[in-house]
């Protein structure tokens, strides 16, 4: 989740510009209820974590605006007036497969601060805001990339087209002209984002009427339009692959500048398909059924509370309508024809509002989560555990009683530990990870015993004996299964102790001795010592194996102590030895 650092001085300046007083202590104590996490506040700055669904809170100006409504109950209009501008931008059809969505807007006469240091901070925060939008909404510039330019010294109409790559311009951060291909190879931003352009389809370039390069999106802007402390009129361009995210981004940057007194002026963008587009800031009307509000909140909300809460979140209730056939798209929200629905205006930059339920969340945030009454479930349902959990508990109790200490080890393992070192053949398809972090953790285990031997090895510096066991998940043929295994490093124990463990477990599980058959295990298979391994059969079911571990195997783990062990398949135990209560 993005974390932003905001300067107290900038916030103070912005609030003062808008006729308010910035109170850092209230931000620290109360702002988290708007749905952010106030991480830290120092003498100079406040650090805030913003949830990924609220990119509209990522700048000084935009968060200050939201805070005025939320903390001070300031009723702010949900829309912004946009002047119909004369500038034009023409998008060439070559952009269709390069970066198909292209938008632009102008903001003039922006107040950037009184002192040079304030102006410096403004320029820096404008850059930071873009970067945060790039990483969140923009999915690291793939979906959205933003350019902000000083409007002085450039002239429309602007053109946007795909270039072959041989054009040259001086990118930000360099002092000489570079070809586009050169930028991709040598400029730090070029190297970082080269994967986002396709040389075969061309490189996007935005130019002014004289051919001056404004930007090579999504890589870098040109130096000619660099924003400085002198800038006050700005051109914002946004290009990308995700139309919704692009529109959100251009509105959020423009909103930030508007909050500093800037006048927003639309640019006529003629798209590659011939259509024309101009930015508007009209509020978006959402239809939120009363029944949905009542259902989610479990209470009826009076219209006064509604109005106040929505206003705190920057919206406005403009009326109430009856739901008609057309409005009912869903069953979940329980609306029926003739239900009443609120008509609610929310700012266009709130791109996170996909469904009326998103407005309901805003409403409850506006009301305060702690205002809700108590409410208990109304359905009477008995709770039942997983049926196997009874047997699992009985097995655990039985093995604990033998003095074995329960452990939990990782399910992730590798072929060498799991199969090769212990001479075990896979019992079915092995689940294999395509992008493991280390070779050590590339597959899921089919047995628990190898992990136990490894754990004994890690503890070899301690005095003997060590008796451990684990009951847990294994994965065979990509399906979960359950196994239980023990391993004991004990100077005074061997096969007969292992047999004792097995017989004790079978007794505790209520096995009939006459049905238990021990079969000599095959030599050189599994970690076992030939002649000291027994397969446990109940009827035709092989429920487990126990014996002494072959020193050749334990040496591979770095162990030089006698080990007896066993592994049993819990699913087969459940089938072969029914629970005495259910029998």
């Amino acid at each position: 989740m993005p974390t932003i650092k905001l300067q107290h001085s900038q916030l103070g300046d912005i609030q003062k510009f808008n006729g308010h007083i910035y109170d850092a202590s209230r931000w620290v104590s109360d702002l988290s209820q708007i749905g952010v996490v106030v991480e830290n506040s120092t003498d100079s700055e406040i650090e805030i974590e913003v949830f990924p669904d609220r990119p509209d809170l990522l700048s000084h100006e935009n968060l200050a605006r939201a805070a005025r409504s939320f903390l001070e109950d300031v009723e702010a209009p949900c829309g912004i007036d946009v002047n119909h501008g004369q500038e034009r931008m023409v998008v060439d059809p070559s952009m269709k497969y390069v970066r198909p969505h292209v938008f632009a807007v102008i903001v003039r006469e922006v107040y950037t601060g009184k002192s040079d240091s304030a102006k410096d901070l403004f320029v820096q925060s404008l850059m930071d805001h873009q970067e945060k939008l790039h990483t969140t909404l923009g999915r690291k510039r793939k979906s959205v990339s933003i350019g902000v330019h000083d409007l002085g010294g450039i002239q429309g109409p602007f053109s946007v087209s795909a270039d072959k790559g041989d054009s040259v311009f001086t990118p930000l951060g360099e002092e000489r002209e570079m070809a586009l291909t050169e930028i991709l190879e040598f400029h730090p931003k070029g190297v970082e984002y080269a994967h986002l352009v396709n040389p075969e389809l061309g490189y996007p370039l935005i130019r002014d009427c004289k051919g001056k390069v404004l930007s090579f999106p999504p890589i870098i802007n040109g130096v000619d339009t660099k924003v400085t402390t002198e800038s006050s009129d700005f051109l914002i361009d946004v290009t990308g692959w995700d139309r919704r995210a692009c529109l959100a981004a251009i509105r959020l940057v423009a909103l930030s500048l508007h909050e500093r007194g800037g006048t927003v002026e639309s640019v006529d963008v003629s798209q590659w398909d011939g259509s024309h587009w101009r930015l508007d800031f009209d509020p978006v009307e959402h239809k939120v059924p009363e029944s949905l509000i009542n259902m989610i909140l479990g209470i009826e909300v009076d219209s006064n509370t509604m109005e106040k809460s929505i206003s705190r979140m920057g919206g406005k209730i403009v009326g109430k309508v009856r739901v008609d056939e057309e409005a009912i798209g869903s069953r979940w929200d329980g609306t029926a024809v003739d239900d009443l629905a609120y008509l609610i205006h929310m700012p266009a930059w709130r791109s996170d509002l996909l469904h009326p339920v998103d407005i309901v969340e805003d409403l409850i945030i506006g009301m305060g989560l702690n205002s809700l009454p108590e409410k208990k479930s109304e359905v009477n349902l008995p709770g039942s555990p997983l049926i196997d959990s009874y047997t699992e508990r009985r097995i655990r109790q039985s093995i604990r009683a033998l003095g074995a200490h329960e452990v939990q080890t990782l399910t992730l393992t590798n072929d060498i530990r799991e199969f090769q070192d212990v001479r075990i053949q896979p019992r079915g398809a092995v689940t294999r990870i395509r992008n493991p972090i280390t070779k050590e953790h590339g597959i899921l285990r089919q047995n628990i015993l190898p992990s136990l031997i490894e754990l004994l090895a890690a503890n070899r510096h301690h005095e003997l004996p060590h008796r451990i066991f684990e009951l847990g998940a294994t994965v065979i043929d990509h399906s979960n299964s359950t196994s239980v295994a023990w391993a004991c490093a004990d100077a005074n124990a061997g096969f007969s102790t292992a047999k004792g463990f097995c017989m004790s477990l079978l007794r505790d599980l209520g096995a009939d001795e006459n049905n238990v058959k021990l079969v000599e295990g095959p030599p050189k298979e599994g970690p076992w010592l030939a002649g000291r391994v027994a397969i446990v059969m109940i009827g035709d079911a092989h429920i487990g194996t126990f014996g002494e571990v072959d020193p050749n195997v334990s040496f591979k783990f770095g162990l030089r102590v006698p080990i007896h062990a066993g592994e049993f398949y819990v699913n087969r135990i459940v089938d072969s030895l029914p629970d005495p209560l259910f029998r």
């Binding site: 409005a327 996909l354 702690n370 349902l381 074995a404 939990q408 689940t431």
Partner: protein, 496 residues
């Protein structure tokens, strides 16, 4: 007159007969008591009464360290290296071959030791001018180690030069400083009459034989020193995570929730698309999620895929606008290790869309995390849902309060949060030892999640991690102590 017990009487008698002060070991020997605590207890009792006087002398006990025990078993490094040198002709004693035959952690150190014993390195070859001398020295050192292999020895019984030699080598010996105590009889002690030191016949161990007869009726039972150390049995014990899981299961079951489980191997579709997590969401990348090579994909019925496509692109089936963009059905069918247990709850609703349910699950989930103090690539998640007609945010918060108070945390508060598949979303905080701690997330599943599953009702859901809670309770600062434990530390943890 003195009210001495039998032990004190015996020690007093010994001290009276001795001309020199006696220490713990000689008193043990003379009394025949194996438990030194008896000796010390009785002697201190006499001291307190002014019958014996105590003198204390500092001493140093020398014992083998871990490396020392290894050396006692395998031989000292210089011993093994000299053996190695002797086993080869002088022209084969090269530095290169020594690094081949010895572990790299040993080779360098060992050559250093040999050089201090007079071995020279000339042109990459090891030369031993005085093999016999070197062997004698090595044997002398070996003998020293063997002296200590049975039990520690006081430093004054050992060669001072060798003590200082081995102190400078890592892990071979450890010096334990202790105080040697000895006692002698005082004037008052010497003046006690012999008849006063006659021991009364006391019963020590109660045996079945003893109780068969009647003799015990006239004897005294010896009082034991309740402060004497006793061996602490190491029985079989549950793992703290398992105990915690059992307690959490009990809470859910008491509250009328039924347990569900599911496979680790899942499709991206059920793990992510069904939860309306957009396909370009950062958590879906290879940096966050384990995708599988085998199985590479899991088939999902076409109707389900079309449904997800519609919901993601345009919000079909809901009043949502959807995410826009293009939905990739192949992406849905990629196989992965589940990243949350929510995949179980969602599948449960899909299978039971029209019956009310309260279910929970505790299970392992997998994330692309490098192992460190606070991260593991697999960990446990706990999750519960309520699916019923009147499910609502107040019902969720009320249930959370009940759940956490049954867990032992009665102060619960909530604040807004964000999760991709719930709306509204809330963060749960509990008051833990005076501090507010985030202990879980909760919310109501988005309509884009539940409506395509075919349910008419809201679903309240909440979840939390198990390991963080276990670490808090046990005071651990390293999650590996739970999964890759030092068994001694694990065996000292309380049973939860």
């Amino acid at each position: 007159m003195m009210g001495l017990d039998n032990r004190e009487k015996r020690i007093m008698a010994i001290l009276r007969d001795s001309t020199a002060p006696l220490g713990v070991s000689s008193l043990s020997e003379k009394t025949g008591w194996t438990d030194q605590a008896h000796v010390v207890g009785a002697a201190m009792g006499l001291t307190e009464r002014g019958l014996a006087s105590l003198s204390e002398e500092e001493s140093v006990l020398v014992k083998l360290g871990v490396e020392g025990h290894n050396a006692a078993r395998d031989g000292l490094l210089e011993m093994r290296m000299l053996d190695w040198l002797q086993s080869r002709d002088p022209q084969n004693r090269s530095m290169a071959s020594i690094s081949e035959d010895f572990d790299k952690t040993e080779a360098g150190v060992g050559v250093g030791i040999l050089r201090s014993m007079g071995v020279r390195i000339v042109g990459g070859m090891l030369e031993v001018p005085d093999m016999q001398g070197a062997l004698r020295e090595a044997q002398r050192r070996m003998a020293f180690i063997m002296t200590l292999s049975d039990s520690p020895k006081p430093s004054d019984e050992l060669d001072e030069g060798l003590i200082s030699h081995f102190t400078n080598r890592r892990g071979l010996i450890e010096l334990e400083r202790s105080v040697l105590r000895s006692w002698s009889a005082t004037e008052r002690g010497l003046s006690i009459g012999s008849d006063e030191l006659i021991e009364i016949d006391q019963i020590n161990e109660i045996t079945p034989d003893l109780l068969q007869g009647d003799a015990w009726r006239t004897k005294e039972f010896k009082p034991f020193d309740i402060h004497a150390p006793a061996p602490i049995p190491l029985g079989g014990r549950p793992h703290p995570l398992q105990s915690l899981i059992d307690r959490i299961r009990a809470v859910f079951l008491e509250m009328g929730f039924s347990e569900i489980s599911g496979n680790f191997v899942q499709s991206a579709g059920w793990n992510m698309d069904a939860l309306f997590i957009p396909q370009d969401h950062p958590a879906r990348t290879m940096q966050d999620t384990f995708y599988l090579e085998d199985p590479a994909s899991i088939k999902i019925e076409p109707s389900r895929l079309e449904q997800w496509e519609g919901t993601h692109e345009r919000g079909v089936g809901t009043t949502s606008s959807g995410w826009g963009g293009n939905f990739d059905k192949d992406e849905s069918q990629k196989a992965l290790l589940r990243t949350h247990t929510t995949v179980n709850t969602v599948r449960h609703i899909a299978e039971n869309p029209s019956s009310p349910s309260r279910v929970f699950g505790v299970g392992r989930v997998f994330r692309q995390e490098t192992i460190d103090r606070t991260h593991l690539p697999e960990f446990h998640q706990i999750e519960g849902i309520i699916h019923e007609e009147s499910a609502s945010l107040p019902m969720l918060i009320t249930t959370l309060r009940t759940f956490y108070s049954k867990m032992g945390y009665s102060d619960v508060r909530v604040r807004p949060a964000y999760f991709p598949y719930t709306e509204p979303s809330i963060e749960v905080e509990i008051l833990w030892r005076g501090k507010w701690l985030e202990l879980g997330g909760a919310g109501i599943f988005r309509p884009e999640v539940t409506q395509p599953l075919g349910t008419d009702w809201p679903v309240c859901a909440w979840g939390m991690g198990l390991e963080r809670l276990a670490m808090l309770i046990l005071g651990l600062d390293d999650i590996r102590e739970l999964y890759q434990p030092d068994l001694m530390i694990l065996s000292k943890m309380p049973i939860l």
